[in-house]
Point group: C2
Chain length 260, copies 2
């Protein structure tokens, strides 16, 4: 893939450049919110952006697979599979908050090799690729040191992600952390990649939510796994912990092991 | 005050224009975070911005009072008193999140007559003044209709703001609302003013946190009170409910009355 990776990264960026203007056009436009059966608000922007991105992939690499939030899966047994979440944080989007993002991954043999976290309303794009430094708007970023939870700034979209034993463990992590910030969606992972914070703990995520984060976090020097410490793949259980520092990741995995 | 209001609004905007570049210079700069006795992270930006704003007020209106988060109160018995919170959402600020804002109010006889919610990292400024339409970057904004909680998009900085009966009532509001978004600080009130969402419920706020919101919400057609429905003043108890629609405000006040 050495020769191919450049082309794949270029396509991933083109996908974000295509999706972004669509998202911005619908953002704060007063559009009608639909309900899916699971009550997740989903917008016309989601569908239009995914349609545009799928067309670009089909045009460039018709043998590649695609997994998308809105339009399902094709050729998932292909060597290369693209993963698309046109609007991660649809609740932020419909509430007028600019924290929503477009998430893009390329998997090779089920393993993420390219990841993009793009924030169309903020003008910030993180791009990660296997064995390369993660870039924010073209400039390398790095996670920061944070040896323990008591010194950590942590992020989580909402405490409602957790139930039972997991909620109790999360609450103890929150109480012991230096700072907790909610409402972050994919932006929390971008903050960890850039070294502005230290940890994200979340649950209930779908493959298109977490797979695009992997190359971004890895390429910035961080670590992202499920709650058992296993690498994330298309069939992970949706419980994710990402940290900028391996020591902090190990400490939090120890706490989370009671819930797995 | 008719002749004076224009001058007061102009000064309020100049305060925001002075504070904003200071906040931006320190944002994501890797500065050391200090701890106050109450463990709230506070930054050099806070202090430098408030110092600069106080100097402008002292120069323009040396008889006016000032209440600031960092440097306390002077002449609070004056007819006009300025209220300054250079960085509302210091936790967002230290976590790299652009949702923090600069809050400015002018009180006359204890009643807010000018309010500014300025977001230096987002380039968005809401300005409200007595009997005038609230402006976002110079353009009028309006709240939207939302007759009941089941249709509402609601905001809250963090559920940890509540305890006991108040937490139970908040949780029921959250469960009944259409969408809940956390992590918003003053941005949630700005979203309600612009009609992107419907309601904010919060508690534990200081006078410099809530007084600057009043003119912004009022001038956009919304309503903001304490949990008993009383107008907010310097001595309110820090429990705040803001809504774009009076019907929704009344419904939520009814629920909150169990907690007051």
């Amino acid at each position: 893939m050495p020769g191919g990776l450049d082309a794949f990264v270029a396509l991933a960026e083109r996908l974000a450049e295509t999706s972004g203007p669509i998202a911005r056009a619908y953002f704060r436009s007063g559009l009608t919110v639909e309900d899916k059966s699971d009550q997740t608000p989903v917008t016309a922007a989601d569908k239009e952006a995914e349609t545009a991105m799928r067309a670009l992939i089909e045009g460039a690499y018709p043998t590649h697979g695609i997994i998308g939030e809105e339009y399902g899966s094709v050729r998932t047994d292909a060597e290369y599979v693209w993963v698309l979440d046109p609007i991660d944080g649809t609740r932020s989007f419909v509430a007028g908050l600019p924290m929503f993002g477009t998430l893009i991954a390329l998997l090779r043999g089920g393993r993420p090799v390219v990841g993009v976290i793009d924030h169309p309303a903020l003008g910030e794009r993180w791009v990660g690729a296997a064995e390369r430094p993660t870039l924010l708007n073209g400039k390398p970023v790095q996670t920061r040191d944070c040896a323990s939870l008591t010194a950590a700034t942590i992020y989580c979209t909402a405490p409602e992600m957790f139930e039972g034993a997991a909620l109790e463990i999360f609450n103890r992590c929150r109480d012991d952390a230096r700072v907790i910030r909610y409402g972050t969606d994919c932006y929390g992972y971008a903050m960890v990649a850039s070294g502005f914070g230290d940890l994200v703990i979340e649950a209930g995520m779908s493959a298109y939510d977490y797979l695009p984060l992997v190359s971004v976090i890895d390429g910035a020097g961080g670590v992202i796994t499920d709650w058992e410490g296993k690498a994330l793949g298309p069939r992970s259980d949706g419980r994710v912990v990402a940290s900028g520092d391996r020591r902090l990741h190990a400490e939090v995995l120890g706490r989370l092991s009671e819930a797995v």
